[in-house]
Symmetry: C2
Subunit: 355 residues, 2 copies
C-alpha cells in the first residue's frame, strides 16, 4: 500500500477513481464512455450542472454568485482575474504571501497598477503578514488562502471594504469558511477537488463591471457565465471527476467533517514534529497549514536518508518543493489518517535511531 | 452496440478507454492512479515526453519544431496565436472558411490588423475559397484545415511565402500531409487525438520572434517550450489519454493507414448520399470533408423522422450543428467501418420506405 503525500496532483478518494474507471468504459449504462459523449448532450449537461450546484451548496452561496469550470489551472487565473477586473489606470492590492501569490501579483502588473500591501518575503514566506492597511482606491485585494510551497495558511481573513479575491487551490473544501466574504474565489481541482485539468471560479456577479479593455472571448467571465460554463468544449472527464469528488465530500459529511479530519491529521503531525527536536519547522505556529506541513532535518545527509526511508515504506511525495527543500507532507481531504500515523511512526523511529 | 458519430468529444479506440480505466486504478503497477501522481515525477514526465515525441514522429518533423500540450481548447488558440505572433501594428491574413475560422479572425483583431483574404461565407461556407492572393506584409496566413460544422476540408494548401498556420482540430492525424509546410499547427485533442481537455501546439521555433507586447506568462509559447510543456500542472489524465491514442495510431499503421480507412469510410458514405436523391448535400464535391459529412432531407418532418430512427438504431450524434441543422455524420479515426455501413444501410432503407 502506498501513502500518497503528493502536493498536487494528489491522492483522490478510491471510490472516485473506481467510478471514473467504470464511466470510462460505460457511462451510466448508456453504452458510451464519459469521454465519448458530446458536451451539449443530455448526458453531460447534467454533470456540469450538478458540479456547479454542489460547489455553491458546499460554499453556502446564494444566486448572486456564479460557478464556472474553466481550463488552464490557477496559473491562468493569475492573468484572467486582472484581465477581467482591472483597467490599465486602476489599482489592485496583492498579498505577497508565497511563491504563487508573488506570481499572481507579477501577472496582474501587466493589466494595471499592483500595490503589494503585505509581504512575508523577509522571512522566506514562513508566516502570514496580517498587519497591513488597504487603500480604498484598490479594485480588490488578492490573497492565497493556503501556501502549498511554504506551508502557511490564512485562518482569519482581512476585514476590509475592498472586494476580496482568493486563490484557494490548495485548501478549498477542507474547512468551513465564510465564502460569502469573497467576491471571487478560484482553485485548481487537483488537490481537494479532483484531477488536474479543470479550475473552479466562483464569482459574485455584480463584481463583474464593464471594463475599458476588450477581453478576449475565451477569457471573459461574463461570456462563460452566459454560456453556462459550456462556451467551448469543457474538459469533460476532469469535470466529471470533480463532480464525483464533490459528491464524495457531501456524502462524507461536507466541510464540517472535512475540517474535523483535517484538524485531526494536521494536529497529529505537528505534535509529532514538536515532540521531536530532531525535526524543525520554521513556519510561525499560528500560521501552520493544515494541508501542507513543511519541515526539515538540519543535517542534509540524514534528511536524504529519511526521504529514502519514506520511499522504502511506500510514502510518496514527501520531498519539499524544489526552491524550499526539506520535507513536505501534504494532507488533503482524501488522505487517510492511517497515512499520517504511518509517517509519524516512521519519524519517531528515525529520530530514535539517528538522533 | 452504439454507433458514435459525435463531432467531438467523439468515439475513442476501445483499447485506449480500457487502458485508461486500468491506469486510473493502478498506473503501471505502481500502486497509484495516473490521476494521483505528480506531474514532475518520474512516472509522469516520460508520459509527456513520449506524447510529444510521437506527435513529431507522425508529422515527420525535425528538431526545428517544438510540440506543446496546453490547456484551453482550440478556442484559446484563437487568442493565443495572435497574442504570441502579432504586434498591434502588424497584419495577419485569415481565411474565413467556416464558423471557427471566422471566430479565430475575430479574436486576432484584438491584437493586430486582420486581413480576411478569402471567404466562403457567400455560400454558407459550403466550399473552400482557394482563389486568393496574400500580401507579403502579412505575418502569417491562418486557415482551418477541416471545418467540422460545415463539412468542408482543405485538400491542397496555399503556396505562399507567408508562414502558414492551421487549426487542425478536426482532422489531425487522419491523413498524410506535408506538416513541414506549416509554421504553427494547433488542434484540440477531443476528435482524433484523445479526450477533451488538452490541445496540441506544434510550432517552428524560429517563427517565435520577439514582440513588443509582453505576453502573460501562461500564454507565452516560448516559456512553455523552455519548461518542456510542464510550466504549470498539465491536465495529466488528458495528456495520458492522448499518449495512448497516439500509440494506437502508430501501432495501427500511422497516418497512411488512418488515411486509407478514412477514405474508405467517407467514400462509402458520400457514394450512398449521391446514389439517393432523397438526401442532399450542398458541399462542393471537391471540398467534401472526410471527417464530417453534412447533408439534409429537404422535408423537415421526414428529416426528424430519420434522426429518430438513427436514435432507435443506437446511432449517436447525427444531428447537425445548431446553426446549420440537417444531418452530420462524423467519421474520425476511431470510428469503425461497420458504423458507416450501418448508417448507409439505414439511409437506403429509409429512402426506400419514405421516398
Amino acid at each position: 500500500m502506498k501513502h500518497n503525500f503528493n502536493s498536487g496532483p494528489s491522492v483522490l478518494p478510491k471510490v472516485v477513481l473506481e467510478q471514473t474507471a467504470q464511466a470510462l468504459i460505460d457511462f451510466n449504462g448508456i453504452g458510451l464512455s464519459i469521454a465519448e459523449v458530446g458536451h451539449r448532450s443530455p448526458w453531460f449537461v447534467p454533470v456540469m450542472e450538478e458540479a456547479r450546484a454542489i460547489v455553491k451548496e458546499l460554499m453556502q452561496l446564494d444566486d448572486s454568485y456564479e460557478v464556472l469550470f474553466l481550463q488552464g489551472g490557477a496559473t491562468t487565473q493569475f492573468m484572467q482575474v486582472p484581465m477581467n477586473l482591472l483597467d490599465n489606470n486602476q489599482s489592485a492590492a496583492y498579498c505577497d504571501d508565497g511563491v504563487w501569490g508573488s506570481k499572481a501579483a507579477k501577472e496582474a502588473s501587466l493589466f494595471g497598477k499592483v500595490n503589494v500591501v503585505a509581504s512575508s518575503k523577509d522571512k522566506n514566506y514562513t508566516y502570514i503578514n496580517k498587519d497591513f492597511a488597504i487603500g480604498a482606491e484598490n479594485k480588490y485585494l488578492h490573497l492565497t488562502s493556503n501556501n502549498t510551497v511554504e506551508g502557511t495558511q490564512w485562518f482569519s481573513f482581512p476585514e476590509t471594504e475592498v472586494p476580496l479575491i482568493a486563490d484557494m487551490s490548495s485548501d478549498i473544501f477542507s474547512r468551513e469558511i465564510p465564502f460569502n466574504k469573497f467576491s471571487l474565489i478560484y482553485a485548481g481541482a487537483q488537490k481537494n477537488m479532483g484531477a488536474a485539468g479543470v479550475t473552479v471560479v466562483v464569482v459574485k456577479k455584480d463584481f463583474l463591471q464593464n471594463l475599458q479593455r476588450t477581453v478576449p472571448t475565451i477569457m471573459d467571465y461574463r461570456k462563460h457565465i452566459d454560456a453556462g460554463s459550456l462556451m467551448n468544449t469543457p474538459p469533460v472527464l476532469a469535470v466529471y471527476i470533480a463532480l464525483l469528488t464533490l459528491r464524495w465530500i457531501k456524502k462524507e459529511g461536507g466541510l464540517k467533517e472535512m475540517e474535523r479530519r483535517s484538524l485531526q491529521k494536521s494536529t497529529l503531525l505537528y505534535n509529532t514534529i514538536d515532540s521531536l527536536p530532531f525535526f524543525k519547522t520554521y513556519v510561525a505556529k499560528e500560521d501552520r497549514s493544515r494541508m501542507n506541513a513543511v519541515f526539515f532535518i538540519e543535517d542534509e545527509a540524514l534528511q536524504n536518508k529519511f526521504l529514502d526511508e519514506c520511499k522504502e515504506n511506500g510514502m510518496v511525495g514527501v520531498k519539499g518543493y524544489r526552491t524550499v527543500g526539506g520535507i513536505r507532507v501534504s494532507m488533503y481531504n482524501a488522505l487517510a489518517l492511517e497515512s499520517v500515523k504511518a509517517i509519524c511512526n516512521l519519524m519517531k523511529e528515525f529520530a530514535a535511531n539517528n538522533g
